[in-house]
C-alpha cells in the first residue's frame, strides 16, 4: 500500500490536524461529559430517596411545612448569574480576550461565595437538624452534596484564574477552561432540580 493510499482513506484526505488538547476534540471534554453523567445519576438517586421517603411517610411531609423561599431564591439568582458570567468569560477566551475571561472567572467565584454564605445562613436558621428525622437527614445531605459541588467548582474556577494569569490559555488552546465551565453549568442545573424538589414541589400538593 503506497503512502498515497493511506492518505486516500475514505473521509480523511491528509489535511493538517490539530495537535494536543483542542476544544471538543480533547479527551478531557468527553471525560467531563461522563463525569456529569455519573454525577447527574448521583443527584437523581438522592432526589429519588427524598421523593420515596416523602411518598411513603404517613405523617405530614415536610414535617414543618414547605421551607421559606427568600434565601433560596436569592441563592438561585446568584448561582444563575454565576453561570451567565462564566459563559461570557469563556466566550471571551474563544475570541482571545483573556481579560474578559479573568473578569468572568472572578465574578463567578464571588457569586459562588455569596451562594455559600446564603446557604450557611439558611442552614443556621433551620429549626431541625440532620439528626431530627428522615426529612432533616435528607435536607442536609442533599443540599450539602450540592454545596460541596459548588465549593469544588469554585476551587476549579479559582485555579483557572491562576492559570489564566500565568498565560496558559488563549484563542488556540483553552480546553481546560471549557471543560471546567461545563461542570460549572452542571452545578447550576443541579441546583434548579434541588430547588424545585425542596422548595416548590411541597407547595404544589
Amino acid at each position: 500500500m503506497a503512502a498515497a493510499d493511506v492518505a486516500a482513506q475514505p473521509l480523511y484526505r491528509g489535511e493538517p490536524l490539530p495537535v494536543g488538547s483542542k476544544g471538543r476534540l480533547s479527551s478531557g471534554w468527553w471525560g467531563m461529559i461522563t463525569v456529569i453523567g455519573t454525577e447527574a445519576s448521583l443527584f437523581a438517586y438522592l432526589l429519588f430517596s427524598y421523593f420515596y421517603v416523602g411518598a411513603q411517610t404517613v405523617t405530614r411531609w415536610p414535617p414543618n411545612g414547605p421551607p421559606d423561599l427568600t434565601l433560596a431564591i436569592a441563592g438561585s439568582v446568584l448561582l444563575m448569574l454565576g453561570s451567565v458570567t462564566m459563559w461570557w468569560g469563556e466566550k471571551g477566551v474563544r475570541a482571545g480576550k483573556n481579560g474578559q475571561l479573568l473578569f468572568g472567572l472572578g465574578a463567578s467565584v464571588l457569586l459562588a461565595v455569596g451562594f455559600v454564605v446564603l446557604e450557611g445562613i439558611e442552614w443556621s436558621r433551620k429549626t431541625f437538624t440532620f439528626m431530627s428525622n428522615a426529612y432533616g437527614s435528607l435536607y442536609f445531605t442533599i443540599t450539602g452534596f450540592h454545596l460541596l459541588h459548588v465549593i469544588v467548582g469554585a476551587l476549579m474556577l479559582t485555579m483557572l484564574f491562576v492559570w489564566t494569569l500565568l498565560g496558559y490559555f488563549g484563542v488556540r488552546r483553552h480546553s481546560t477552561v471549557s471543560i471546567a465551565v461545563m461542570y460549572w453549568h452542571f452545578v447550576t442545573i443541579v441546583w434548579v432540580a434541588v430547588f424545585l424538589t425542596f422548595y416548590i414541589a411541597p407547595r404544589t400538593t
Binding site: M131, A134, S137
Partner: protein
C-alpha cells in the same frame, strides 16, 4: 516534524511511514514509550498492558481467597450438625465470599482483559486517560485491602453481600464490620467510576482510522455497555452505603422507621445498582466468547450487528428489572407485574446472543482447543442459568423459591457460567499475547473437564436442595430433612471444581516459564491485537493501523468488504507520546492526541484517598483532613496544564 503555527492553530500532517523500511523507528518509539526499570518505574507506570496484567493477577488472587472461603463453608455444610464454624464465622465467610467474588473478582478481572486488550484491538497506543487508568487500579487494590482489613480480627462484614437493613443497622450490628463494608464500597465505587469513564472515552476517541463503530470487536461493545451502565448505576450503591454509614455513626434516619425513614429504600437503591451490575460483570465476558469463537470456528461471528445490539439492549432493560430481587417484600401487585414482565423480556436479547454462538459453531469448523471448550461449555451453563432465571422471574415461583438454595444455584450458574468459564477460556486464548508463551493444551483440557464436571456436580444439586426447602445462609441443619445426601454431593462437586481451578493455576504458573513460545498470531486470529508482537512492545504498534473491515487479518480469505486494512504502513506519530484521535462513529482522524508519561500522581492520589477512608473508619478527623488536603494538592498537580500535552498556548514549542 514539530507542529507548525498556522493561522490560529498548531497543526501537523501526520507522517506516513513503513517500519519495515526504516529500522530506526522501533528503537526510537521504545525510548519514548518504555517504562523505566526498577521499583520506581513499576510504581509510576501508566502502560495499559502493565495495568491490565495487574488487574488480572489481583482479581485472580481475590478469586482464590473467595474460593477458600467457599471451601470452608462447604466443609461445614457437607454433613448435618457440624461445628467446624461458629454461626458468627459462617456469617462473615458467606458475606466476604459474596463481596470478594462479585466486587473484587468479577468486574476487575474483566477490566484486566479490557485494559490490556482495548488499545491493541482498537489500534491505539494507550487508553484515552493513561494516568486515570493507573488510578483506577490503585484504588481497586486499596479498596480490596480495606474490605479485608477487619477480617483478621474476626470483625469482617457479616450481613450478606446485599447487606439489608435493619440487620446491618447499628442496633443489631454494633461492631466495625458494617462500617468497613460501607466505606470500602464507596472507595471501590471511585475506582469503578474512573475506570468506566476511561473505557467510554477510549472507545469514542481513540480507535484506529477506519475502525467505524460497526467494526469494533464485541468485547469492546460489552465493556463499553458495562461502563456506561456503571456510570449510571454505581452512584446508587455508593450513596446507599454512605447513608447507611451516616445512619450508623451520625444519627441520621434514612433507613430507620422510628425517625421516619424507610428500610425498603436500602433495597431499592441497592438493587437499582445491583441488577445493572450483574450485566456489567457478564456482558464483557460474553464479548470474550463472541470474539474468541470465530477464531476457533474459522468463520466470522454470525449476526455481529444483532449481538452488538443485544448487548446494549440487555443493559438498557437491566435498569428496569431491579424489583425482581424484592418480589417477597410486599410491594403492590401492579409493580410486581411490571417488573416480572420486564424480567421475562430480558431473556430475548440473551437468547439472540446464544443463537448467534450456536450458529457460529454449527456453520463453522470448530477446532476443539482448550479455549473453545471453555467457550462452548459456557454456552451450556449460560442456558441453564438463564432458564432458572426465567423461572424466578415469575412472581409465584419466586415467592416459593426466594432465599432458598435454588437462588444460590441460579446465581452461581450465571456468575461462574458467564464469568469464570469465559475468563478461563480468555486467559488460554490471550495468554500468548500477555506473556509471549502458549499455555499447555493437555493440562488445559484436563482443567476444563474437571472444572466443568465439578461445577455441574457441585451446583446443579443446589436447585434440588432449594426445591426441598433448604434456605440459603444457614450455618448448619439438622439431619432427617432429606438434605443430607444432596449437601454431600454439592461439597464433593465443589471440591472437584476447586481442583480444576488449581490445575488451571498450575498451568498458568508452568506456562509462564516453560510454555511454547508464540509468534504474533499463534491461533491465526482475525483482530488487530494479533498484528503486533507477543508480548506487544511498549508502543503497541510502530505505526497506527488503518482498518477497513471487522476482521482485518482475515481479509485475504473473506469476501464482501471493500478496501484493505494496513498494519505495515501508517501514521508514525513519534513526536513524544502521541496517538491519533478519531471521530466517534466513522473513526475519521481529527486530532493528534498527546499522551501523558509515567507519573506518581495516580499512586499518591489513591493513597491519600484511601487514607482519608481510614480516617473516616476510625473517626480520626485530623487524619481525614490531612488526607483530603493531600488529595486536593495531588489533583491540582495532576491537572496542571502542560505544554507537552498541548493544553496551553505554548503548544507549538511544547510539541517539539
Amino acid at each position: 516534524m514539530a507542529a507548525v503555527l498556522s493561522g490560529n492553530d498548531a497543526l501537523r500532517v501526520p507522517v506516513i511511514a513503513r517500519p519495515a523500511d526504516d529500522t530506526s523507528i522501533e528503537p526510537r518509539l521504545d525510548r519514548i514509550w518504555e517504562t523505566r526499570k526498577g521499583l520506581l518505574g513499576a510504581l509510576s507506570s501508566v502502560d495499559h498492558k502493565t495495568i491490565g496484567k495487574r488487574y488480572l493477577v489481583t482479581a485472580f488472587v481475590f478469586l482464590l481467597i473467595g474460593g477458600l472461603e467457599a471451601a470452608l463453608m462447604r466443609a461445614q455444610l457437607a454433613r448435618p450438625n457440624q461445628t467446624l464454624l461458629s454461626p458468627e464465622q459462617y456469617n462473615q465467610l458467606f458475606t466476604m465470599h459474596g463481596v470478594t467474588m462479585i466486587f473484587l473478582y468479577a468486574l476487575p478481572v474483566l477490566s484486566g482483559f479490557s485494559n490490556f486488550l482495548w488499545p491493541l484491538m482498537l489500534g491505539s497506543r494507550d487508553m484515552a486517560f493513561p494516568r486515570l487508568n493507573a488510578l483506577s487500579y490503585w484504588l481497586f487494590l486499596f479498596a480490596g485491602i480495606f474490605l479485608y482489613v477487619s477480617f483478621p480480627i474476626g470483625r469482617a462484614p457479616d450481613a450478606g453481600w446485599f447487606n439489608y437493613v435493619p440487620y446491618s443497622s447499628l442496633a443489631y450490628n454494633p461492631g466495625i464490620n458494617i462500617d468497613v463494608y460501607a466505606l470500602g464500597m464507596v472507595l471501590l465505587g471511585l475506582s469503578t467510576t474512573v475506570g468506566s469513564t476511561n473505557f467510554v472515552v477510549t472507545l469514542i476517541r481513540t480507535r484506529a482510522p477506519g475502525m467505524s463503530i460497526n467494526r469494533v470487536p464485541i468485547l469492546v461493545w460489552g465493556t463499553l455497555t458495562a461502563s456506561v451502565g456503571n456510570l449510571f448505576a454505581v452512584p446508587a450503591v455508593s450513596l446507599a452505603f454512605l447513608m447507611l454509614w451516616m445512619d450508623r455513626r451520625f444519627g441520621s434516619h434514612f433507613f430507620d422507621v422510628s425517625g421516619g425513614g424507610q428500610p425498603l429504600l436500602w433495597q431499592h437503591l441497592f438493587w437499582m445498582f445491583g441488577h445493572p451490575w450483574v450485566y456489567a460483570i457478564v456482558l464483557p465476558a460474553m464479548g470474550i466468547v463472541s470474539d474468541g469463537l470465530p477464531t476457533f470456528c474459522r468463520r466470522p461471528l454470525v449476526g455481529y450487528t444483532a449481538v452488538a445490539l443485544a448487548t446494549v439492549t440487555t443493559m438498557v432493560l437491566g435498569f428496569g428489572v431491579w424489583v425482581h430481587h424484592m418480589f417477597a417484600t410486599g410491594l403492590p401487585p401492579i409493580s410486581l407485574s411490571f417488573f416480572s414482565a420486564a424480567s421475562f423480556i430480558i431473556v430475548i436479547p440473551s437468547a439472540v446472543a446464544v443463537f448467534a454462538w450456536i450458529a457460529t459453531m454449527w456453520t463453522g469448523r470448530p477446532q476443539f482447543t482448550t479455549p473453545f471448550l471453555f467457550f462452548a461449555g459456557f454456552v451450556i451453563v449460560f442456558v441453564i442459568g438463564g432458564v432458572s432465571g426465567f423461572m424466578t422471574a415469575a412472581v409465584p415461583v419466586d415467592t416459593q423459591l426466594t432465599d432458598t438454595y435454588f437462588v444460590v444455584a441460579h446465581l452461581h450458574y450465571v456468575l461462574i457460567g458467564i464469568n469464570v468459564l469465559p475468563v478461563a477460556g480468555g486467559i488460554h486464548y490471550w495468554f500468548p499475547k500477555f506473556t509471549g508463551r502458549l499455555m499447555n493444551e493437555k493440562l488445559g483440557k484436563w482443567s476444563f473437564w474437571i472444572m466443568f464436571i465439578g461445577f455441574n456436580v457441585g451446583f446443579f444439586p443446589m436447585h434440588i436442595a432449594g426445591l426441598l426447602g433448604m434456605p440459603r445462609r444457614i450455618y448448619t441443619y439438622p439431619s432427617g430433612l432429606g438434605w443430607d445426601t444432596v449437601n454431600m454431593v454439592i461439597t464433593l462437586g465443589a471440591y472437584l471444581f476447586a481442583f480444576g481451578v488449581l490445575l488451571f493455576a498450575i498451568n498458568v504458573w508452568r506456562s509462564l516459564r516453560h510454555g511454547e513460545r508464540a509468534g504474533p498470531n499463534p491461533w491465526d486470529a482475525p483482530s488487530l491485537e494479533w498484528a503486533t508482537a507477543s508480548p506487544p512492545p511498549a508502543y503497541n504498534f510502530a505505526v497506527i493501523p488503518t482498518v477497513a473491515s471487522r476482521y482485518p487479518l482475515w481479509e485475504d480469505r473473506l469476501t464482501g468488504h471493500e478496501g484493505r486494512s494496513s498494519t505495515g504502513e501508517g501514521m508514525l506519530l513519534d513526536n513524544g507520546r502521541e496517538t491519533i484521535g478519531t471521530s466517534a462513529l466513522d473513526a475519521v482522524p481529527d486530532v493528534i492526541l498527546r499522551m501523558p508519561g509515567d507519573s506518581f500522581a495516580p499512586l499518591l492520589l489513591s493513597l491519600a484517598l484511601a487514607i482519608s477512608f481510614v480516617g473516616m473508619l476510625i473517626h480520626s478527623w485530623w487524619l481525614f483532613g490531612i488526607a483530603i488536603a493531600c488529595s486536593t494538592v495531588a489533583a491540582i498537580a495532576w491537572l496542571w496544564p502542560e505544554a507537552k500535552l498541548g493544553q496551553t498556548m505554548d503548544i507549538a514549542r511544547g510539541s517539539r
